[in-house]
């Protein structure tokens, strides 16, 4: 290892931002907080991007590792202990200075602090906590903080970080426990899911005590409410509220199949009996506990999971752990590790893209994972986006009449996004809509025309509701559908969709 003992702040920044770049999340969304006198910063619910890097990804936060002097040896990671690479460690003061000075210049929305594991999980988490403490209290920073929880760190330290951070994340790393065991021998599902559950319950408690200020619900949660479905996660909420009033605790049962380990963990390790917030009196509770929620990410394409398995795990994470976001990261064999698959860049990026689209359908459109894929058909169609694909295999539900269909039905029409569906419903109150008005509303007509009627008429009389006919036309006429599938340069990442089926709602 090459240690940079007396490295300048610039050298450290070079090493520790390079080391952090494979982490996908750079969002600063989920919490809206006004500025305060005597402090610096505020936050916006929808998040703010500040730049786009050469890979086209949004840069919103100062994303760095605290240290890359890691004692673990995860096979997929550039910072694994057996790699011969430059190493460095920040001081808390250096991280604070960079954050504040970048923030004042409007380079960033805040800090995303992650870390390799130096000495031990607790030792590392303590350094992370000290940094966040200094940033919030000494530097009076009121902007966005995303903090990575270190798997295996004590619950006290996890809780402390949660009082400073807006968002926390713990990476699931790989979709299955077996994959994790193979590629990250020092980690296991229990050390990942335990803090995830702790944070989930802490958030529920914070919301119960502080109301709106305690934190927001996720898009997934709102969508489930709108479509009238019950969430298993609600048990957890109820549970913690009971704890608050000193009622008897019962270990919570997890019934999902996709995260089986959570069920069989020894001694109900992942139950609410050892979660719950204990530091109300010692911390500044004005921001709430992890008010912007938690997220996770997993690497796809390194171990052999199907899209169906990945979506099932994703859905379970939303339902059982109340996550805000699940991110996917197409595997890149940076270590040229011969036990791992060789790089197959483009097809994998396409796959990642489809997974993100499907994730959108879960979070905003009320689709269930098993509506999109099944055990018999476990992979997404490469040529059609998942919503078109779904519509084509459910033609019996079309066409939809624009002037009468309800909101949830409109949402399932290809070419109609959440915003256009809202606008259609609102505009109908002042009179009937015709095709011209739909265009003004922002409906993507080249996709929608096969699936809708306006006042009983299809847009062109020659349109047929026929699977082959529509598929052929969608592929030929709809440049968007083909966008990014033959040519590297037009590949689009989720946050960047201009296409109304996958637009963000806030």
């Amino acid at each position: 290892m090459i240690f940079q003992d007396h490295a300048t702040i610039k050298e450290k920044l070079e090493i520790l931002s390079d080391a952090a770049k494979y982490d996908v999340a750079c969002t600063s969304s989920g919490v809206s907080r006004k500025g305060n006198k005597g402090e610096i910063g505020n936050t916006a619910a929808s998040g703010i991007c500040h730049a786009f890097g050469a890979d086209g990804r949004c840069i919103s936060l100062l994303k760095v590792l605290f240290t890359n002097e890691c004692i673990y040896n995860c096979k997929y990671c550039i910072n694994r202990s057996t790699n011969d690479i430059p190493r460095a460690t920040f001081t808390p003061e250096e991280v604070c200075t960079l954050t504040i000075e970048f923030y004042r210049r409007n380079y960033i929305e805040g800090l995303f602090l992650s870390s390799g594991i130096v000495e031990s999980p607790d030792y590392t988490m303590e350094l992370v906590c000290r940094t966040l403490h200094d940033l919030r209290t000494l530097h009076r920073f009121n902007g966005y903080i995303h903090c990575k929880a270190i798997p295996g760190a004590s619950r006290e330290l996890i809780e402390e970080a949660g009082w400073y951070a807006d968002r926390m994340s713990i990476n699931l790393e790989l979709p299955t426990a077996r994959g994790l065991q193979e590629l990250a021998p020092n980690k296991n599902r229990t050390t990942i899911l335990t803090p995830m559950r702790q944070i989930q319950n802490g958030m529920a408690e914070s919301r119960a005590m502080l109301g709106m200020k305690g934190g927001n619900q996720s898009a997934y949660w709102y969508t489930q409410k709108r479509t009238g479905r019950a969430l298993p996660g609600e048990q957890a909420t109820l549970h913690t509220t009971q704890n608050l009033f000193g009622q008897k605790k019962a270990p919570e049962k997890l019934a999902d199949n996709s995260l089986k380990e959570a069920q069989t963990a020894p001694d109900n390790l992942i139950s609410s009996s050892n979660t719950g917030l204990t530091q109300w009196k010692h911390r500044d509770i004005s921001r709430g506990f992890v008010p912007a929620g938690q997220s996770t990410q997993m690497i796809i394409g390194a171990t052999g999971e199907s899209d169906y398995e990945i979506m099932a795990v994703t859905e379970a994470l939303y339902q059982r752990f109340d996550l805000k976001r699940v991110f996917f990261s197409a595997f890149i064999n940076i270590n040229q590790d011969s036990s791992l698959p060789a790089v197959n860049g483009q097809p994998l990026l396409r796959r990642e893209h489809r997974l993100y689209q499907a994730d959108f359908l879960l979070r905003y459109y009320g689709f269930r994972a098993d509506e999109l894929l099944t055990q018999q058909r476990p992979f997404f169609n490469t040529y059609l986006d998942p919503k078109c694909d779904w519509a084509l295999s459910h033609l019996e539900q079309f066409p939809v009449e624009i002037n009468t269909a309800d909101f949830n039905t409109l949402l399932r029409v290809p070419g109609i996004g959440t915003k256009s569906a809202q606008r259609i419903v609102a505009a109908r109150r002042t009179g009937k809509l015709d095709y011209h008005a739909l265009k003004a509303i922002g409906v993507v007509m080249k996709r929608a025309i096969y699936f809708i009627t306006c006042n009983g008429q299809m847009m062109y009389h020659f349109l047929k509701i026929d699977e082959d006919y529509i598929t052929r036309n969608l592929l030929e006429n709809d440049v968007d559908v083909m966008k990014g599938f033959d040519e590297k340069v037009t590949y689009k990442q989720l946050t960047l969709f201009d296409d109304s089926d996958y637009e963000d709602t806030n």
Partner: protein
């Protein structure tokens, strides 16, 4: 019945346009025959042969009446729509605001959703353009520290619309304790925020504008650190300049720290 078009000519300012909307509204001439034409000082006016012209007297009291009526009789959302439209740079904004307000007085709050009506569709589009541009600059505007002790931050922007007030709402809340200036090079406007919260928008003389530009040409230490981060954080295996350009159009990069040449 056909009558000649009546064109209200007004100052190309917020008060000018609202004064025209006010006068036109009171005239009872019939909205189908009315147009509103903002005139830039020193601009050559294009007279139409069969139209009649009315010169509007600018008066901020008229502005207030229009705004109050919109908020009371239509809605807050309608008010936001007309405010976005009036600070925009679209030449037809006077007409559109006038028509929108006329419909709004009949339809009430629902007018904002009635995208079937052309002027509503148009004001909606204007609002979106102004909000989008503001959002872009919230993201991409860059400050630099042009003075220490006390520190002073300066940002230069070249927007199409007069968005400084919208930007200031955001930055004044974010940087309560900072002294900072946002300078709009397109319209020679600037706003100066004082530590603690007060700010105002000023129209600049060319000399003042030049001074701000000279100030902005300094170098400072954090530029280099930011560039380092900016380059390191991109994944080389996923380089995608086309995507980068579609997300961050070249036009916005002009004053962005990370895209400035190292040694001019």
């Amino acid at each position: 019945m056909d009558k000649p078009t009546r064109i209200y000519q007004c100052n190309n300012t917020v008060d000018g346009i609202f004064s025209a909307v006010y006068d036109a509204g009171l005239s009872g001439y019939g909205h189908r025959f009315i147009r509103i034409q903002p005139i830039q000082a020193g601009q050559n006016e294009n007279y139409e042969l069969f139209a009649e012209y009315v010169q509007v007297e600018t008066d901020s009291k008229k502005t207030k009446s229009v705004i109050d009526a919109v908020r009371q009789k239509i809605s807050e959302k309608a008010y936001l729509f007309i405010m976005s439209a009036v600070i925009s740079d679209f030449p037809d904004r006077g007409d559109v605001i006038y028509q929108f307000v006329t419909y709004g007085f009949t339809l009430g709050a629902k007018v904002c959703n009635a995208l079937q009506i052309p002027c509503v569709d148009r004001i909606f589009a204007m609002n979106r353009a102004v909000q989008n541009e503001t959002h872009f600059f919230r993201e991409f505007l860059r400050f630099q520290e042009v003075q220490k002790d006390p520190s002073l931050l300066l940002a230069v922007i070249e927007p199409r619309h007069h968005i400084i007030p919208l930007l200031m709402e955001h930055f004044a809340d974010r940087f309560i304790e900072e002294w900072f200036i946002i300078y709009d090079k397109t319209h020679l406007e600037a706003s100066f925020h004082q530590k603690g919260g007060n700010w105002e928008v000023y129209l600049l003389t060319p000399e003042k504008a030049k001074k701000l530009e000279e100030l902005s040409e300094q170098k400072e230490e954090y530029v280099d650190l930011w560039k380092t981060f900016f380059h390191q954080i991109a994944i080389k295996e996923r380089t995608n300049k086309k995507l980068q350009t579609s997300m961050l159009p070249l036009h916005y990069r002009k004053h962005m720290t990370e895209f400035l040449e190292d040694n001019p």
